[in-house]
Point group: C2
């Protein structure tokens, strides 16, 4: 018998996915400030603007609720979550907690392949640093840390990390630029990897503490600077969504 199915990996065409698209559009709207923190997300309004019914909007909102971008209040709808400093601190506190754990686990389960993957990702970080593309830099940084969780091989841990990262990226997106010197951030990953390779738990956690702690302080500082003067006042009327901006295919 011969292997019949197409062996080649095709880009899983899942983009008749209305819900996913709506979720992306809403996320962008929030990140870009068109939907300010605390503002109400009116199902019918979004639906009308996108030319669809309320059902997929609702599902998308639920999805974003799970991701922590929106909060649902029964009988009164979805609201864009307000970012308080305490939230940031809680997120980073948890992140620190699980990343220590994941890093130690990863060290224990490290193979030559996974080690090389990490090294390669650090290279990518360095190369990205030249591009002056903060969003990309954040993305590749995320990739590195995600790799660690993948190597740790606990799906639940990985999912949790993804959830936290989604929230953090939103915050970072709002802030705009996170690092002053992109190369600096690339370089700081090296001792962390070294510690993981060495497999010494104390050194690993110490490096994780330093590494994550640094980001924590930076983000905290920036958020505090931006002094979220949450205006509970009404949302600017008119078009807040731009379908052309987010719709893929």
């Amino acid at each position: 018998m011969r292997p019949m199915s197409l062996p080649v990996g095709l880009p899983a065409l899942a983009d008749s996915d209305l819900v996913g698209q709506v979720a992306r559009i809403l996320t962008q709207a929030v990140v870009q400030g068109r939907l300010p923190p605390g503002s109400k997300v009116v199902e019918a309004g979004i639906a009308r603007e996108l030319g669809i019914s309320r059902a997929p909007v609702r599902e998308a909102a639920r999805l974003l609720e799970k991701q922590g971008l929106l909060v649902a209040r029964p009988r009164r709808g979805f609201f864009v979550r307000k970012l308080e400093i305490k939230n940031i601190d809680e997120i980073y506190d948890l992140r620190l907690c699980i990343e220590r754990h994941a890093s130690v686990l990863a060290a224990r389960k490290l193979t030559t392949e996974s080690r090389d993957a990490l090294r390669r990702q650090i290279d990518v970080l360095h190369r990205t640093a030249d591009l002056d593309d903060p969003a990309r830099q954040v993305e590749e940084d995320y990739r590195f840390h995600r790799l660690i969780f993948e190597i740790a091989d606990n799906r639940r841990l990985l999912r949790l990390f993804d959830d936290l990262a989604a929230e953090l990226r939103m915050v970072i997106g709002l802030i705009g630029r996170l690092y002053d010197d992109p190369h600096e951030i690339a370089r700081t990953h090296e001792p962390l990897l070294a510690a993981i390779e060495a497999g010494h738990p104390e050194r690993i956690t110490a490096h994780v503490d330093y590494h994550i702690g640094h980001a924590w302080r930076e983000v905290g500082k920036l958020v505090r600077e931006l002094a979220p003067p949450v205006s509970d006042a009404g949302v600017p009327p008119g078009l807040i969504l731009d379908p052309a901006n987010g719709v893929t295919v």
Copy 2:
């Protein structure tokens, strides 16, 4: 497994919070084995049986998906999640990770009131031990550990714990009885509390490791015992579950 509608009669309902009620009913159906692991949850079927429309059923399913009881596969519906040993291990691994952290935090933030609350809960555990009510015992045990997370004062950490506990309790509920000697389990909380009161991080984590590790091993043992691999057409290999026993989550 043949995709068919829910066979068993479910209690009719009328009150408000339809979604919550449906979620509870579905949860019961799963726990009681009327919805075996891996079986399909047909929206229309449930809706018809409860005398409501598909919308609230859908929402309830999404809720249970978030809780991990169901899994959603796009375009083909919701399924009762199958329990794999690996899942249990992953849950406990994460639990251990965050409970260490929470316990250290709790020690740092301990007040006389919160300390007394913990002590009282240990008393409750002892009193409950006489009742020969395993479910209640598990519940009070959960309360104790939840207290620690409350004292740690990180809402996100607390929510995560609640999520994990919900899953674990379901497993434990299905197993039936977790502890041989209820007083034994009550007693093992005492050195943990002592360590927290002393505020020595190493001792705390050591006790948490012992305490949670014990539960981990017990649950793992029991699940392994009553979950021999079943080869059912359509069920992917590698899964450890026993539909006949109704072991799910």
